[in-house]
């Protein structure tokens, strides 16, 4: 049985609380896909919901707003991991519910 629990907690802690070029509050907002400035909201929402629709323009808008490439890198990573976390937690809860009632 593969257990990613410990490695996943370490990953989340690193990207949200460890050193970074984007502020912890920006990284957290990207992870949650909530509470972001307009220049980032579109990019982060696309990464979370349909990343294949991200365009050069979406990245350019974030850069023009004053973010460095390193900050964009971190924010996109946080957005992707946040979405994966929500999906994973939702599915595990559904599994628990299915087993609990059997």
């Amino acid at each position: 049985m593969s257990n990613i629990g410990q490695a996943r907690r370490a990953l989340t802690q690193r990207i949200l609380e460890g050193d970074g070029k984007a502020s912890p509050s920006e990284r957290k907002a990207a992870f949650n896909n909530s509470g972001l400035a307009e220049a980032l909201a579109v990019l982060v929402d696309k990464v979370a919901r349909h990343a294949y629709r991200v365009t050069d323009e979406d990245i350019a808008v974030a850069r023009v707003s004053g973010l460095s490439e390193d900050q964009v890198f971190e924010i996109v990573v946080c957005a992707a991991i946040g979405q994966a976390t929500r999906q994973y937690d939702t599915a595990l809860a559904a599994l628990e519910a299915a087993i609990g009632k059997d």
């Binding site: 049985m1 593969s2 257990n3 990613i4 490695a7 996943r8 370490a10 990953l11 690193r14 990207i15 460890g18 970074g20 990019l43 696309k46 990464v47 979370a48 919901r49 349909h50 990343a51 294949y52 991200v54 050069d56 990245i59 490439e69 390193d70 964009v72 890198f73 971190e74 996109v76 990573v77 957005a79 992707a80 991991i81 979405q83 994966a84 976390t85 929500r86 999906q87 994973y88 939702t90 599915a91 595990l92 559904a94 599994l95 519910a97 299915a98 087993i99 009632k101 059997d102």
Partner: protein, 193 residues
Amino acid sequence: MRLRILDSGHGFVTKALFALIRTVSRQPVLDVIKLVKYRADFYGEPMGAVTQDAMRGPSTWSVGDRELMAAFVAKTNHSEFCTKAHSAVAQGAYRDGKKVSAVLSDLETASIEEPLRATLLMLGKLTREHAVDEDDMRAVLAAGASRQQIEDALAVCFSFTVIGRLADAFGFFVPGPEAFEAGAKYLLARGYR
């Protein structure tokens, strides 16, 4: 690649490693390698630990099954890079290219075991709709997958939900099949760390 730092912002040692990879494999360095080697302490290393556990840790799913799940999640996410990359790994692991292409073209009719089919159907719904409910899980259990197998499949899905998004958001270059073949051989021999 949409961020220049991911293409060429690496340190001297990493650039030397890329030169070595190009020489030995006679292929360009895949953009996914450039991503995981950029400021690796932020993303590449901690994510590599998660993916290694999910894809190569102990599980009653074979490596081929898990690589097939990765390719299937990637295809559902419209991620061309990851679909091609992990189809190649699954084909190598199974030593059966037809099985992988049959699943990716029509899961309902592909000749695979029912627990795997039901698990893939659930991962497809989770990936498309971003949620599943207890009825979906009951269907997978009824098809014969164990609780642990479902948890293991969700771990694979976690990793590839992340990686496919990054491939598309950062605009990974999609090379020809030879580069993915070389990448697949590496992943089968060495894993994700």
